[in-house]
């Protein structure tokens, strides 16, 4: 009995001591996405970092789902917890995180021998990372909407090349679909993410911007119910219901992975997706390997092709107890060497411009030439701290219009009113 109690006490003391030990030797912590392929690269990169600087970093493996990743950061940050010291943020949360006072400004670190600002895309830095005049984050990797197409099918049916307007896309999609359906009943002309989630809003903004739509939120006013937006939403709905080139489950199941898988199975002619799909389409076991082309998204007659700015940015926690060392980690992660490694091993589109001109990278990833053009001109989502509230409204109403729950007119009218109320609530006070 006495011995057992002794063991228990010893255990309790051990647990307590190990708790102390962690804060004592100050291992940095870094929160990243936990996709199986990614985590090994992160581990290797951090081993390099430790070898170079002697600073130990523990990896916090987050889920792959974006919403869950955010939850995993909002909770410790709201509680003012010291770890994670450094974390990856979706560009859509940056304004909220910055306005919540969770991000340490990086201007001073940058001035003291950090990388030159010009190595990053100027537009991305200005739109996403500099908020209220302060640099609060640095881009790790960039995303923008792209059009993937089956080059082999376009050639087989004598089509000139990827479509430049949406009308052209519909025509090509219908033609190929009609020819291929007898042998492949599940074949679709154009797949894109239309489920009720953030990705749908990104796609809608691309359709709208390609029709010269105005800024969504300007001067504290939401402008959603406009002819340009209406035409964009009506087209999205018609792709499913009227032209029948997009599958009926676009509104219920299609997120980027579902879209990618359908295209990769060889069951689609066109696909709207982020850059990450390229590497997977070209993987050795991919049925569409070597048959895929990459282009800018089509636009409306008289409009210009647009791509929504996405991607992940590195932030330094204001609650970190070792900010200078955490900064060295960020500096290492945005260095040309590390960025090149992520590009080569994961196909990530780097946040740094110079990697796109690297001969080795271009040799292995020739599509980067195309990407750089797209990234020079990305369309950001409105940069407001309450964006996710606005986005939730949009997701619901846009998705209802796609699913046939209401007309595009009604969806936009209601969304404008509800989003207006959100803006008034959070910006009015």
């Amino acid at each position: 009995m006495f011995r057992r109690r002794l063991i228990l006490i010893a255990l309790a003391v051990l647990v307590l001591l190990s708790g102390c030990g962690r804060s004592g030797d100050k291992v940095l912590s870094l929160a990243v996405g936990g996709a199986p392929g990614e985590i090994e690269v992160w581990e290797a990169v951090l081993a390099n970092f430790e070898a170079e600087t002697g600073i130990k970093v523990s990896l916090i493996r987050q889920p792959t789902d974006t919403a869950q990743r955010r939850q995993g950061l909002v909770v410790p940050l709201q509680a003012g917890q010291a770890d994670p010291d450094v974390f990856l943020m979706d560009v859509a949360w940056l304004a909220q995180f910055a306005a919540s006072g969770w991000l340490a400004p990086l201007d001073e670190f940058m001035a003291q021998g950090g990388p030159d600002r010009s190595v990053f895309f100027e537009r991305v830095l200005a739109l996403a990372d500099v908020l209220q005049g302060r640099l609060v984050a640095l881009p790790m990797n960039l995303d923008g909407g792209l059009l993937y197409y089956r080059a082999d099918l376009l050639e087989r049916f004598g089509l000139p090349g990827p479509p430049r307007t949406w009308a052209e896309l519909v025509r090509q999609a219908q033609l190929v679909q009609e020819k291929l359906r007898p042998e492949r009943p599940g074949f679709c002309g154009f797949v894109w993410p239309g489920a009720q989630y953030e990705g749908l809003v990104c796609v809608f903004l691309e359709f709208a911007a390609s029709n010269q739509a105005a800024e969504l939120i300007e001067g504290g006013r939401v402008r959603l119910n406009t002819p340009a937006n209406l035409a964009a939403l009506a087209l999205m709905r018609d792709l499913i219901g009227k032209f029948k080139v997009s599958p009926p489950n676009t509104c219920s199941a299609m997120k980027e992975e579902e879209v990618r898988l359908q295209f990769q199975r060889g069951e689609a002619l066109f696909e709207r997706n982020w850059p990450y799909a390229w590497g997977l389409h070209q993987a050795p076991d991919s049925p569409v390997r070597g048959r895929v082309g990459l282009a800018r998204l089509p636009h409306f007659q008289g409009g210009q092709s647009a791509a929504t700015l996405g991607g992940w940015h590195l932030g330094l926690s204001r609650f970190s107890e070792s900010q200078p060392r955490a900064w060295r980690l960020i500096e290492f992660l945005v260095s040309a060497g590390t960025q090149k490694r992520f590009a080569l091993e994961l196909g990530w589109a780097p946040g740094r411009r110079d990697v796109y001109a690297d001969p080795e990278v271009l040799g292995r990833l020739p599509h980067f030439r195309e990407l750089q053009d797209v990234f020079e001109n990305l369309q950001p989502r409105p940069i407001v701290p309450y964006w996710s509230q606005v986005s939730t409204v949009l997701q619901r109403r846009l998705n209802a219009a796609l699913g046939g729950g209401c007309s595009p007119e009604e969806a936009l009218r209601r969304a404008e009113a509800e989003a207006g109320a959100v803006v008034e609530r959070y910006a009015g006070r």
Partner: protein, 293 residues
């Protein structure tokens, strides 16, 4: 019932203390904390300040709150009775002396043992438009015209969710009721048989009345569970299409995620009050004291 001595009572309270402390710390404190937070403007990017019942007023004005409330109530009203009836039937069957009864009972419990998120994924595959079992069945049976997009319409998504929830939680109801059936004395049934009562008569005159307290317990658990349904919807529909399957708890969780803790807490408090109200109604309806006394 004989009166308890003061010493006995004091002893009982001492033994109850740990449970009481548990309830206070892990249940009452968070509830009160949520209520307190709901009276504040607690938004991560705005200054924190007391705003009284403002969050609740905003809630009353939010159309999405009302539609989530409507969906949640409808979900409870359809899924719980379905689960109770199916659970009772399964319990009655499993109560009979069947061959390999123990193995059967264990099998029935499998869906209950699967985590909700996992069963959500399973049903996602079943409902899949291209590769799902549901559409494959339609094809084999030559029913309908081509595949159905199960989760694409409001009612389709609703009944898909009800079905998935019933699959998962009916075994729980069956298990509880099975325990209740075991407590029904065999002599009563034999006596009934002697008196010439049919199976149906015996069920309604003997089994059901004796089962009532345990039925109410099962009903209580299921209702409260269904009221705060979250995981299945999160995985299966994400609240779509067009927000048609957004439950109250999903609505509240979305507010937390967006950084509005005050508003999210107000949603939680409403949900808590709903559950509490229903629990009180059930406890009264159960008439546990006289039933057990």
């Amino acid at each position: 019932m004989r009166a308890h001595s003061a010493r006995e009572l004091a002893g009982a309270y001492v033994y109850l203390l740990p449970v009481l402390a548990f309830v206070l710390i892990f249940i009452l404190a968070p509830v009160l904390g949520a209520f307190r937070t709901s009276l504040f403007q607690d938004v991560t990017f705005l200054p924190r300040k007391f705003i009284g019942l403002d969050n609740y007023l905003r809630l009353a004005e939010a159309p999405v709150f009302w539609s989530s409330l409507r969906f949640t109530c409808l979900f409870v009203l359809v899924s719980v009775p379905l689960e109770m009836i199916l659970g009772l039937l399964i319990a009655l069957v499993l109560d009979q002396p069947l061959p390999c009864r123990a193995a059967l009972r264990a099998c029935v419990l499998i869906p209950w043992a699967v985590p909700a998120a996992v069963s959500g994924r399973i049903w996602e595959l079943i409902y899949d438009y291209n590769l799902g079992l549901a559409n494959a069945l339609l094809g084999w049976l030559h029913l309908g015209q081509g595949p159905v997009n199960w989760l694409g319409s409001n009612w389709g998504a609703f009944f898909s969710l009800v079905l998935a929830d019933a699959w998962k939680t009916t075994p729980f109801v069956a298990l509880i009721l099975l325990a209740g059936l075991a407590a029904v004395p065999d002599e009563l049934h034999r006596q009934g048989q002697v008196d010439g009562a049919s199976f149906v008569q015996r069920f309604f005159r003997i089994t059901l009345p004796l089962l009532r307290p345990i039925l109410v317990v099962a009903l209580l658990f299921r209702t409260i569970d269904a009221l705060r349904v979250f995981d299945l919807i999160f995985v299966l529909t994400g609240g779509g299409p067009g927000g048609a399957t957004t439950s109250l708890s999903l609505y509240g969780a979305n507010q937390f995620l967006a950084g509005d803790f005050g508003f999210g807490s107000a949603v939680s408090v409403v949900l808590f009050l709903l559950a509490l109200g229903l629990a009180l109604v059930y406890v009264r309806a159960g008439r546990f004291r006289e039933g057990l006394g």
